[in-house]
């Protein structure tokens, strides 16, 4: 049933936002009356006030650009390599049967822990971070590509046969488009892991973009600044996921 009136539809959203504001207001009051230690939790108003300082003094734009580049390169790599490997594994069945469980195991293994290895190979550089993002995001893309191709409805393939399509045409005109929504789910999942690892490794090895910013401010014991930079990373990732959702909607309109 399409919404009866638009006011009622936005009501829950308003309540959610209101509750969030009330939560922060509550924290503000509790910190001000010293129920919460102000050296552990800064006042939300301080955090908001430090936003400008963090953005101007800490060169957030340049940091964001660096993190974005790292995530973008790693994201492009997982999409290209992952989809190709997925197609390869789908087409060569024996390869798929031999390695699909390994790929799935890789997806559930704590691969991020091998960052010291890349640290040794690439040093504290952008490429360590890109490679970590790549390693972490690759398995879901491969798995979902296989799943999408294998899930092509039989009848659609038979429709293709009835029109006398070649095997290649069946693959490019029928199987690939029909697998696209699933492949996209895999790419989105992979991008999530990539971004987590990019920012996480930046934080861990104290290099580069936004992750390092948090580390820096925390080490300087700039309380409000630390919270502000964390809030900034959250905003960035929210923005990132909203954009991928939107792109997905454009590319896969039938959903």
């Amino acid at each position: 049933m399409s919404a009866a009136n638009p006011g009622a539809r936005h009501f829950p959203l308003l309540v959610g936002m209101g509750a969030l504001s009330a939560f922060f207001a509550g924290i503000e009051i509790l910190v001000r009356i010293d129920v919460i230690n102000r050296f552990i939790v800064p006042m939300p108003s301080q955090v908001i006030a430090s936003f400008e300082r963090v953005i101007v003094e800490e060169d957030v734009v340049a940091r964001f650009w660096l993190t974005f580049q790292e995530a973008f390169i790693a994201g492009a790599m997982i999409a290209i390599v992952g989809i190709s490997l997925g197609i390869l594994l789908y087409r060569v069945e024996i390869l798929r049967r031999a390695t699909e469980t390994w790929v799935a195991a890789m997806a559930s293994a704590p691969t991020v822990l091998i960052y010291p290895l890349f640290l040794v190979i690439f040093g504290r550089s952008m490429w360590t971070i890109v490679m970590m993002g790549f390693v972490a995001g690759l398995p879901p893309v491969i798995l979902k590509t296989i799943e999408g191709l294998a899930g092509t409805r039989r009848v659609l393939i038979e429709v293709g046969r009835s029109f006398n399509l070649t095997a290649r045409q069946i693959f490019t005109k029928i199987m690939l488009p029909s697998a696209l929504p699933t492949i996209f789910v895999g790419v989105r999942l992979g991008l999530i892991f990539t971004l987590i690892n990019v920012v996480g490794v930046e934080f861990l090895i104290n290099f580069g973009g936004l992750g390092q910013l948090i580390n820096d401010l925390a080490e300087r014991y700039d309380l409000a600044g630390t919270y502000a930079s964390i809030a900034f990373v959250i905003l960035v990732s929210v923005f990132f996921f909203v954009v991928t959702e939107w792109v997905e909607k454009c590319l896969v309109p039938e959903r």
Partner: protein, 258 residues
């Protein structure tokens, strides 16, 4: 889906290919190790890694640290898992709460949790507690989101069947809701376990004096590569094994009773 004309592939052939792949990878590794293309010790020779693995598993120190990490993960899972389950049930049962608050979880879920580590240190200190907090924070989101989604996905007719036989609230919960949503919940727990392990270990590599994460980063800073590889191998085996075990316990691979 199998290609129509392709001949059936036997399990033995698959096994043979797997062995070949493993051998090729190991041989390539060994070749790189001996060629000296990369810095010495970045790719140590296989026997060196094997010796380090043996030394690691034969010594008692590693197990103590593994125990610390396992304890942290278990505590984090318990706190975050129960919290996630409770919140997920609330959101799944109440449409209004879900529309008002679920979007926050949905967007916070994929943000890298490790960035909260400085805050966790401020709140809970540099010891074990902040690692537990990281584990709990990590696993809370996937458990909550998949529980909420699982509850909404329950086939409505099954709930009507329960009501039509006049099941009370407790019976509805234990005989209809929980069994009907156990797959998504177990999946959420599995996902949660994975990220809780990662969150805990990363926190240990960042700032700690105990736990496997600490050992790994210590080996790195001493440039003891073989020992680092040995620990990564053990960690991967343990993590994959635990994950498979949770899946098995949840009966995900069978249509049989739980």
């Amino acid at each position: 889906m199998k290609g129509g004309a392709a001949p059936a592939i036997s399990a033995a052939e698959v096994r043979r290919l797997r062995i070949v792949i493993v051998l090729v990878v190991l041989a390539a590794w060994e070749l790189v190790a001996r060629s000296g293309l990369l810095y010495r010790d970045v790719v140590p020779a296989l026997p060196t890694i094997a010796r380090a693995l043996y030394a690691l598993l034969a010594g008692g120190e590693f197990y103590w640290h593994l125990g610390v990490t396992a304890g942290e993960v278990a505590a984090g899972m318990t706190i975050g898992g129960i919290g996630g389950l409770a919140v997920g049930l609330l959101l799944g049962a109440n449409r209004f709460l879900s529309e008002a608050f679920e979007r926050f979880l949905y967007y916070l879920g994929p943000t890298p949790k490790i960035i909260f580590f400085p805050i966790m240190i401020m709140w809970f200190g540099v010891g074990v507690s902040s690692k537990i907090a990281m584990g709990a924070l990590s696993c809370f989101f996937p458990v909550a989101l998949s529980t909420a989604a699982g509850m909404r996905q329950i086939d409505r007719v099954l709930i009507r069947v329960g009501h039509s036989f006049r099941a009370n609230a407790w019976q509805m919960a234990t005989k209809v809701y929980l069994p009907a949503m156990r797959h998504p919940v177990i999946n959420g727990v599995r996902l949660g376990l994975g990220v809780a392990i990662i969150g805990t270990l990363l926190a240990e590599t960042k700032l700690s004096n105990r736990g496997v994460g600490f050992l790994v980063i210590q080996a790195y800073s001493l440039f003891d590569m073989p020992r680092m590889y040995a620990m990564l191998i053990v960690l991967f085996v343990v993590a994959i094994g635990v994950n498979a075990l949770v899946g098995r316990l949840g009966g995900l691979d069978a249509i049989k009773r739980p």
